[in-house]
Symmetry: C2
Subunit: 400 residues, 2 copies
């Protein structure tokens, strides 16, 4: 994906550098700066153990205004005690001073190994140049600078009509491959838009869109100390600020869902060592909550994920996982399909031929599994991936 | 482990055969018969999807009396619809007829692949011989007949003083390697004793002992459709039936905890592809429930399990997993030790030398990890194992 593919967003500039947090000269420091103070919203990990930059930014975002965000990869600055918080404050303070804004207008995010002291001097020394070299089109470099175990950078964008014959842009940049699980924003995600709005509307729109996208995907069931998703609006498009649920507000939320949905899909595709992305549809449930609970149990099951990896239509493991969800359903009413191939009807096996056909579906890099629980009307979908040897190899030696 | 190592339990006989449920001539059918009707108790999977033999036995065990139990391996008889229930009824009925007892005096347990029709004729044909060849000392063959992915049979026993200069025996036989997780009895477990008691006391004692043992271990976080643990008492020792919490009752419960604890440890050691068994002690918690929740999150985390496999003292993943438990604790008060080596004090890293020492601890086949959450007085322990490539290889191709 070349830089020219991504539209710039009026009001925002990006930069990136390799400052030496990562040992091998890879990009590891990224900056987003706004030309003026902008509206900001955020969602953060619900993990009890939060990294220093998360704690700091959660306090600062309360104001709803921001003008810069600094991200380092290679070190999470989590479980680093007082020194970790000092580091985050000093780094953001240097940026604020250089820009001539208040300290709390600068946010920070970090991603990488937990529990190692942040080599903050290296970051501090790189900041002046980072600020000077920020440009509207350095999006791809920024996306690369926030990667850890990601195999590729993740950028998605959309334009939508707004106001009277005007157009707004939503640009999203994310990192994430392992440790993706609901009940958190994501690993790291950044949304930039020029559609006009106050931070209160931006926060509501972000929550709505994240609930429909990032909170419905899982790689390995683990949540991190650093997960954060930010949204910034430069409000450069000259029209009424979005509010409530009018037409433009709905269009913006649709655009957000589109961009976050696409980023989420790329994160699951990039699941550490993953070869197959599965869209699991749980239908016929008594409630949406029930459908989600069943979907989550299946998507989190290591036995199911190992079967997906081995291309084995082992629907019995899906039944057993569904049965763990604490949801009332009649096993004798369950139907399961791989793609269009039904392997279970009325709770029992269709037969060997159907399973052979399902095996062919499972050779695809992405496919759909549908589990019908019963006669209910509610449904939910879930995105997950297989778990193979590469996942273990990578995670056994990640720190070495 | 030779047969002579296991003490017989007066009143019980065992047999085993290879009837062809497993394709390769391995033992796959086991029988326990009692000379007379005996007290029986049971704990069963809480999974919503229950195998036919589980549903049948849960009904029959209500009476508190039994005289035989048949177990097949190689096929779970789960998600097999009406035919599955018919099969379980016919099989137990044949045994009842041969023995001249009522149908509901015979229990059944199954373990193996979910969703495949049970080749019940093969089992039915094998039953008369199985009954004829039952002997008090065929314990080891029975233990082998109930194995699926187990690498070795699991038998444990203890004798304890009872009444006036008398002695009673508790013998336990279990199968299990994958799919072991709390909130279920276990995969399959069978306890036999000659200590005298009514079924109501036996049920209470079993619940107490399982809560302290099998409900504190995890291999992969998945529970099955077939998990069952049975206890039978022939009451052959001539003394007062155990009741309440008198001395003999306490001794029996201690013996049960000892036998189930030993079986549980062997199941975790046999975790599919596992190389390391870790006893995780969560201490300094505000409540036992809090300690258990934290322990469960750590023991279930695939990232932690991959790090254990890779001998990486990646305590940051343990912190992140603990933070998912929904338990209030101050990360800056946490201490973590591998064996006696502290790698985290006051929530931060001790240093590289300590981690090198921890790495040496992690080379052991079994070791202890202690996580101190804070100044609380409560604690809980958890048994778990690593997750390596063998787990995935085995579970990707289990049905093939």
């Amino acid at each position: 994906m070349s830089e020219s593919q991504h539209p710039t967003v009026p009001g925002f500039r990006f930069s990136a550098t390799a400052c030496g947090v990562k040992p091998d000269g890879q990009l590891d420091l990224g900056l987003i700066v706004a030309d003026d103070p902008v509206s900001v919203a955020g969602m953060f990990t619900k993990n009890r153990v939060k990294a220093a930059p998360v704690t700091l930014s959660m306090q600062r975002i309360e104001r709803g205004r921001s003008q810069a965000l600094i991200v380092n990869s290679g070190n999470a600055n989590a479980c680093t005690g007082k020194k970790g918080m000092e580091d985050a404050k000093v780094i953001t303070s240097i940026i604020a001073d250089e820009m001539g804004v208040a300290d709390d207008m600068v946010m920070m995010a970090s991603t990488g190994v937990i529990g190692m002291p942040l080599p903050s001097e290296r970051i501090e020394e790189a900041l002046p140049d980072l600020l000077k070299t920020a440009r509207p089109d350095r999006i791809d470099e920024f996306a690369r600078a926030i990667m850890t175990t990601d195999r590729w950078p993740k950028v998605s964008s959309i334009k939508f009509p707004i106001g009277y014959e005007k157009e707004a842009t939503v640009l999203g940049i994310a990192k994430g491959a392992g440790m993706i699980h609901p009940d958190m924003a994501t690993t790291l995600g950044f949304i930039l838009t020029d559609a006009p709005m106050h931070s209160s509307f931006l926060q509501r729109a972000l929550s709505t869109a994240v609930d429909r996208t990032f909170n419905r995907l899982t790689v390995d069931g683990c949540t991190s100390t650093n997960d954060s998703i930010y949204a910034f609006s430069s409000s450069r498009v000259e029209t009424e600020p979005l509010r409530g649920s009018d037409r433009d507000a709905r269009r913006f939320i649709d655009a957000l869902v589109d961009v976050l949905g696409e980023l989420g899909k790329r994160i699951v595709q990039d699941g550490e060592g993953a070869k197959h992305v599965v869209t699991l549809e749980v239908v016929g449930a008594p409630s949406e909550d029930a459908a989600r609970k069943v979907g989550e149990q299946i998507a989190r099951s290591t036995l199911v994920k190992a079967a997906i990896w081995g291309r084995d239509p082992n629907w019995g493991r899906m039944m057993a996982a569904a049965g763990m969800a604490g949801v009332a359903f009649d096993p004798l009413k369950v139907e399961i399909k791989f793609g269009k191939v039904a392997v279970v009807k009325k709770g029992i096996r269709v037969g060997r031929t159907a399973e052979e056909e399902a095996r062919r579906v499972m050779a695809e890099s992405s496919y759909r599994i549908t589990m019908k629980l019963g006669p209910g009307k509610a449904k939910a979908s879930y995105l997950f991936c297989d778990m193979g040897e590469d996942y273990l190899r990578l995670n056994a030696s990640y720190r070495s």
